[in-house]
Amino acid sequence: MSNTGALNIAAAGADAAAHDLAGPRGARPKRALSGRNIMIYGTLAVVSLYYLLPLYVMMVTSLKGMPEIRMGNIFAPPMEITFEPWVKAWATACTGLNCEGLSRGFWNSVRITVPSVFLSIAIASINGYALANWRFKGANLFFTILIVGAFIPYQVMLYPLVIILREMGLYGSLTGLVLVHSVFGMPILTLLFRNYFTSVPEELFKAARVDGAGFWGIYFKIMLPMSLPIFVVAMIIQITGIWNDFLFGVVYTKPDLYPMTVQLNNIVNSVQGVKEYNVNMAATIITGLVPLIVYFASGKLFVRGIAAGAVKG
């Protein structure tokens, strides 16, 4: 006998053989149609339907001609697919005298969104970092004010901001608008970043201090590279918010800077005359495309980032 362990196991096996080994064996049988599965997938399917319905309606309508739309059923698939509404929405729909469709505002939207997202995230992440790792006296007070600020309706701040920007000489400029977006993005983003940085082990921060890294050194070299998920969350929230913004874009800039949503609003909100629903829907989808793409591209990171930034704290 060279292996007593083997002996023991073999003995157990032999004993086992002596037992009545009748009865179930292997994995617990799983019926694909168990009540539980029907409940789960059924619910999810119904809910998905509710969520997809509007997208479906938008899609279908945007591919129909106006006569077909007037005939009624909004849920019916198009009998004759036409891409004209898309072309019109993008290239020829008129806003006042400018008949370039959404394309006119597209680059403006990009010009607004990119720096705004960048600046607002930069500021908020530094705020969050300072709040989480370098608490100084009074920091909590300012943070509390910010959080309360998250509840102030935008409309209320419209007027004071006009005055502030006017006094700063930034009214009507891109810089002014970028600042406005940063200000309004600050509360929620700061909250997210603060929570995220709080969850980074404190020892890492201490190690970096011993290694002689200062405030900025730790931020750029240690914290930033570790924070991809939360940056993705912040980016998605900001891109969505800023891209879709209409009010600030239009109040704080001038026509040569108007974002795409102004054209969308113009196309959708023309009060008089017949509504071209197909063009409206096409315009709607086109406008939503950028945030949607950002979304689909980074969905997984989003959940991870949310888990890290929103849940703790």
Binding site: I40, L44, S48, Y51, P54, V57, G72, N73, I74, I123, I126, N127, A132, W134, R135, F136, K137, N140, L141, F142, F143, I145, L146, I147, G149, F151, I152, P153, Y154, Q155, V156, M157, Y159, P160, L161, I163, I164, P187, I188, N195, T198, E202, G214, F215, T240, W243, T261, N280, M281, T284, G288, L292, Y295, G299, V303, I306, A307, A310, V311, K312
Partner: protein, 298 residues
């Protein structure tokens, strides 16, 4: 043993303080300053332009005698409660469903989340259309032979606010679901195992054990939902413009209309101030407990 001097407190963490300047400025100038300005001018009879003609509480008297304002408050109340309760419930239930190690989790999650990427203008427009009795759901169901079927929430003053809710929930529950899902994933696996061994049914485990453990998630979620509720404006404008009649007015819209349609800034400011007051009464004690009480290092 020459003792070096203690550096003055102002310069400790100097970089952190410098870095926080944008936040401090925003907090003080924009939020506090803007708010104070608003409050001050709510005591004037400013019309189109702010004027320092103080009229005491006149604006407030008018505000509270305005039917439109009262209805706005009522609507916000209904919308707020329903939206809060329903988003939490639906968001949580969906998260719980997605947490069951199901197939296609990513697909479902994407479907639930995508409306969050769309603007309120879009949301309002689409739902206005789907709920339109002439082409929307009502028409379709009727054309299937159910002639008496009636579903026109946006056109019935009694239930219009619920019609708005349908779209509001559509837009926001995805995010709530995501938050909840993240929270659920953060629960210690062992808790689930312990509950299963104790023979506690799934729903009870959620209700009595898991939900109470998710307090931080619920708080973040609450902040997000609540701040959205107070601000609700675009959705109403896009769907009903406050109609039929004034039955779907909300405070933010009242304020906006007062300021820019009626050109009565004073009245708008008075409305804003009331909204702020309500927010502050609810939020400040909570925010202080949540963020002010605890201290960490440095």
């Amino acid at each position: 043993m020459a003792a070096t001097r203690r550096p003055p407190t102002l310069f400790r963490n100097l970089n952190a303080k410098i870095a926080a300047i944008p936040m401090i400025l925003t907090a003080l100038v924009v939020f506090v300053g803007g708010t104070a300005w608003t409050v001050v001018y709510s005591f004037t009879n400013s019309r189109l332009l702010p004027r320092e003609k103080f009229v005491g509480l006149d604006q407030y008297e008018r505000l509270w005698s305005s039917n439109k304002w009262l209805i706005s408050i009522e609507n916000l109340f209904i919308y707020g409660i329903c939206s809060l309760v329903l988003s939490l419930i639906i968001g949580f239930v969906l998260a719980a469903l997605l947490d069951q190690k199901i197939r296609f989790e990513n697909t479902f999650r994407t479907i639930l989340l995508y409306p969050f990427a769309l603007s309120f203008i879009v949301t309002g427009l689409v739902w206005q259309w789907i709920l339109n009795p002439q082409f929307g759901i009502q028409a379709v169901v009727r054309s299937l032979g159910f002639e008496s079927f009636s579903f026109d929430p946006l056109y019935n003053p009694d239930i219009v606010i619920y019609g708005i809710l349908i779209a509001g929930l559509w837009q926001s529950t995805g995010l709530i679901m995501c938050l909840m899902l993240a929270g659920l994933r953060g629960i210690d696996e062992d808790i689930w195992k312990a509950a299963r061994i104790d023979g506690i049914p799934m729903w009870k485990t959620y209700l009595f054990i898991v939900i109470p453990m998710m307090r931080p998630v619920f708080i973040t979620t609450l902040v997000i939902i609540a701040s959205g509720i107070v601000r609700v404006y675009d959705l109403v404008v896009a769907q009903t413009s406050g109609g039929p009649g004034i039955s779907s007015e909300v405070p933010a819209k009242y304020v906006y209309d007062a300021m820019f349609l009626s050109q009565n800034l004073g009245q708008g400011f008075a409305g804003s101030t009331m909204m702020l007051l309500a927010v502050i009464i609810v939020i400040v004690p909570w925010a202080y407990l949540e963020f002010g009480g605890r201290k960490r290092h440095v």
